[in-house]
Structure formats: structure tokens, C-alpha cells
Subunit: 224 residues, 2 copies
């Protein structure tokens, strides 16, 4: 089996509306039964069964048996990222239906850490440079990452809380960084004056100093 063959097999699986519906229905990480997925896919249970068999066979879905139900979910975060990538190319999502949302989508706090496009971009940057490694439900800081974060001035306070955890961003559908590390990053950005909280909203604004800082330190340009 050649590389191209493997790639086309996977892509072909995404190329059918019923299967695409199944996969997107699972994008949020939940596990659903075959019947629920049949409803989501708008096809009969028998047809759905065939699709599910092929998807699990290709390791796009993982299945868990519970009594007479079978629960399906995405086999790995890589699958979700692939779906996002295809959607990104598939084009402009019919966008923000609701108002005031734009600021929230750009940058907001999620409890004590950063989310929205900024939060996701930060996670991307740290991952790309090998400073942190995010897996399905956990995260670690590498050696280079530790010194990088130390230089940046974001040293997480000690504590019992989980240190670094990916948190799926609902507006971006991709992970940002939560946990003590996420909190430390947000605090440091506030201290540097890179971002400012808005009154009565979780949205935060990026200052001109922040624009420069995020670009120089993390290679982030949200306008680009």
C-alpha cells in the first residue's frame, strides 16, 4: 500500500456526505451511538453501519461497546485537526451570525486563561516551536519550552491544579492552553500591557504593544 493510496483512502472517506456528517457530529469529542449517527447522517441504519465499519477500519473512529450499544468517537485529535484543515480550505464558513461576537472570537478569557483566535494562536505557536506538546487530553512543556517561558516571564505558580491542559476552543474548534500554564501566560500578557480586559465582558483587546509583542515573540499576526 503506497503513501498516495493511503492518503486517497482517507480522503475518499471524507468525500461522502453521510460520512462527513458522521465525523463532524463527533467533532466535539463526544461519543455517539450508531443510531444517533444514522440520524445525523440522514441515512438508514444499515447504510450507517457500513459507513461506521469503514471509518473504524481506517482508524478514523474508535468504538466502545456498552451493552447493546456501540459508542463511536474520533480515534485521535489528529482526525479532528484534519477535518478542520479540510473545512478551512472548503472555504469561508458562513460566518458570524451573532453580533458582538467578533470581539469575543478574536480574544477572550476562559476563566483565567486566553481563548479565541489569540488563545489558539498562542497554543499553535508554542507547539510549532516545540515548546509544548499537546496530546489528546494532556500537555507537557519541553526543556526548551521551560527556558523560553522563563525568559518570557510566565512561570506558573506552584499548585495542585493541572499544569498544562489543552482545552478545545468552541469558536475556533481547536485547542488553546488551559491549566496553570495557561493562567500564567494570560497574567504575563496582562502585566506586559499586551492585552486589556474589557468591562462586563470576557473579551479582551490587544494593545498596539501587544500586536508587536505577539508578532515578535510568538510569530502571531491575527490580522494576517
Amino acid at each position: 500500500m503506497s503513501d498516495i493510496t493511503r492518503m486517497t483512502s482517507v480522503a475518499a472517506l471524507l468525500g461522502d456526505p453521510a460520512r462527513a456528517n458522521i465525523l463532524t457530529a463527533l467533532l466535539d469529542g463526544r461519543a455517539l451511538t450508531a443510531k444517533e449517527l444514522a440520524f445525523a447522517a440522514h441515512v438508514s441504519p444499515s447504510t450507517t453501519s457500513g459507513h461506521l465499519a469503514r471509518l473504524t477500519d481506517a482508524d478514523l473512529l474508535a468504538v466502545e461497546k456498552q451493552g447493546r450499544h456501540r459508542y463511536f468517537r474520533l480515534a485521535s485529535p489528529l482526525v479532528g485537526q484534519m477535518l478542520e484543515a479540510v473545512m478551512a480550505v472548503a472555504g469561508p464558513a458562513p460566518k458570524p451570525v451573532w453580533r458582538g461576537g467578533e470581539a469575543l472570537r478574536t480574544a477572550r478569557t476562559c476563566y483565567d486563561h486566553l481563548a479565541g483566535r489569540l488563545g489558539v494562536a498562542l497554543a499553535d505557536s508554542l507547539t510549532r516551536f516545540g515548546h509544548v506538546a499537546l496530546s489528546g487530553d494532556g500537555g507537557e512543556v519541553t526543556e526548551t519550552g521551560r527556558s523560553f517561558l522563563c525568559d518570557f516571564g510566565a512561570e506558573p505558580a506552584p499548585g495542585k491544579r493541572v499544569f498544562c491542559r489543552p482545552c478545545l476552543d468552541w469558536s475556533e474548534r481547536r485547542p488553546h492552553i488551559a491549566g496553570r500554564l495557561g493562567a500564567a501566560l494570560a497574567t504575563r500578557c496582562l502585566d506586559l500591557g499586551w492585552i486589556q480586559r474589557q468591562r462586563d465582558s470576557r473579551a479582551v483587546t490587544i494593545t498596539p504593544a501587544g500586536s508587536r509583542g505577539f508578532a515578535e515573540t510568538f510569530g502571531i499576526d491575527l490580522n494576517g
Copy 2:
């Protein structure tokens, strides 16, 4: 046209071997003519023409007319990222049952530069010694790097193409060096007899001289 419909249309385009070959042939950012792509896709010019029309129509490819040639290239970096994402899921084969696959993972050409374990090791070595600096989507050669490469005999030809670019290696999931510099390195290694192309394959073999050379010059030992 719904989200799912757009997504499946794009995915279905990737689901055909001929089109997948075309897209991967353009992964490094070069622009190729329809005939060259027909060769890469292993189908007739007429068939290729149909595929190219569909790919450009879906905005996966951009086309540029020059005389009686038409040059095709990926329409945006997003397309490349999508391909990488699909390859990442399609994954390196779980079990390298087949000897040829193993050879491909050890060392192969990615059009005109080196990839696989050897390509990644080269990039690592050059980075470690401070000869090049690779960031997210760009790369630079340092002063010491310039003289080092000059001594080595790998002086990139002048040209419009990007000079040094990291290219995510699908089998190693780490960057190797593409662009004019990558091409120059590959050419020099061939000239030195360190590597040899295999017929009908992108795999390259490392000669005994190459083993010594890579070890002495770059500190690379792929068996280690």
C-alpha cells in the same frame, strides 16, 4: 451550498489517486505544467486536463498562463496544510511490512530535495551547528552557514524560487529543508556519490561513501 457539501466536495477531490498525485507534486510550492503533472499523476493528458479543471475550479490550484504552457500551483498554503493533515492521519504505515516503504522512510527525494530520516537529520544538523535557522514557515542561512555550505560545495543557484524553507516531513513529522538550498544540498550529495537515486522510486540509497561523509561532515548516523 452547505458546510458539509463544500467539505465533501473538497475531500472528494483528494480522494482520487491521480489528483492526489498532482497535489503532492505541487506540495513544495513549485509551479508545474499540465504535461508534467500528467506524468506525475500517471494518467493521460486528457484525463489530467479534466482533473486540473476541477481542482482550479474548486480553488485548490491557481493557474498562470505563459505562452502555450499553463503553470499550476497550490492556490494557498492552506491547501498544503490540508494535505499534510490528511497525510498525518493516513500516517506512516503502521507496520513497515514492505521493504520499499522502509527505504522511502530512510531517505527519499521530495522532488528536488531530500526528505525522510536523512532529510530531517540534515536539517537537524544544520540547525544544531547554527548554520541555518528554521522558523515556522521560513528559514535563513547564517554567516557561518554560508561559508560552511560553500566549503561543502552546495551553493544554491540564483533564482526566483524561495531560498530556504522548512517542509514538514510526513513520515518523520518534523521539518526538512526545501527551497533552492534544499535542492543544492541534494544535488551536491548526488555529485559526491553519497546517495543514489533508485529507478521508479523517490527512494534514494546511501552509499558507503555517503555513510562516512554524512557522519564526518554532519555528524549523522542513521543506524545509531
